[in-house]
Amino acid sequence: MIDVLSTALIVATLLAAAWLTVYVALGRWLEVSKRDVLALLALVVAVLIGLIVQAVYGVVAVSTAGRNIESATFVAYLIGTPVVLILAAYWSLTERSRWGPGVLLIGCVAATVMVVRLHQIWSPHG
């Protein structure tokens, strides 16, 4: 597993989550015409690209490895994480209240948890 990638993903999703928490607290919605919102969305897109790379790498790794790990669960998490984040992002953009970023915050926290879980499944001995 690319440890560097999963660490970077965890850091990035936590950063996005913290950023979104500020929007929720301030009651700002995700106004795409604003530069700071665009920057945040760029971060989310970067995370998504990372997740897709991780998914491709992970599926290849689990099908060629002689490791005894729960493949079905592993692949489900691999594919589920970007799916969850995409759904959250899509849904967060159409709500013009703090609950827009609120939904994306939930998606980012979920993504963090799932990447951590993926890491645990792959390297149970740390």
């Binding site: 589920g80 759904l87 939930i106 998606g107």
Partner: protein, 131 residues
């Protein structure tokens, strides 16, 4: 004319949580039932029941019409009872649960969200009830 709808404002975040848990519980119980059902049949069936409740709540809250609202009220009430009962049983009779379910120990494995979710659901329905 603007009506109080269940899927905007905070309701959107609530539905997002329900969708997340619907996906998580469904895939988890599907994998468990398909690969190792005999290890903990009660636990896995309960996780599947939880998954169904989450799906019902998600669809009901998205639809938001009066029939759906009533369905969600019942399902949230059952869900809350389920978390409390399964949570208590998993602590009092751990032998019945060789593997964890979503509702084990009141959802501790999911940061107690399974416990809070149905309460939020019921509160949200109350808040968006039209008189």
């Amino acid at each position: 004319m603007a009506e109080a709808t269940t899927k905007s404002g905070p309701g959107r975040a609530l539905i997002a949580l329900y969708v997340l848990f619907a996906i998580a519980a469904t895939s988890r119980s599907a994998v468990q039932i398909a690969t190792k059902f005999s290890e903990a049949p009660l636990a896995y069936v309960l996780s599947a029941v939880a998954a169904v409740m989450y799906i019902v709540a998600t669809v009901g809250l998205l639809r938001g019409d009066s029939v759906s609202r009533r369905i969600v009220t019942v399902s949230c009430a059952v869900e809350l009872a389920g978390v409390l009962i399964v949570g208590a049983l998993s602590l009092l009779r751990p032998a019945w649960f060789p593997d964890a379910t979503v509702w084990s120990e009141f959802g501790i494995g999911y940061m107690f969200i399974p416990l809070v979710l149905p309460v939020l659901g019921l509160l949200w329905l109350r808040k968006t009830a039209t008189r």
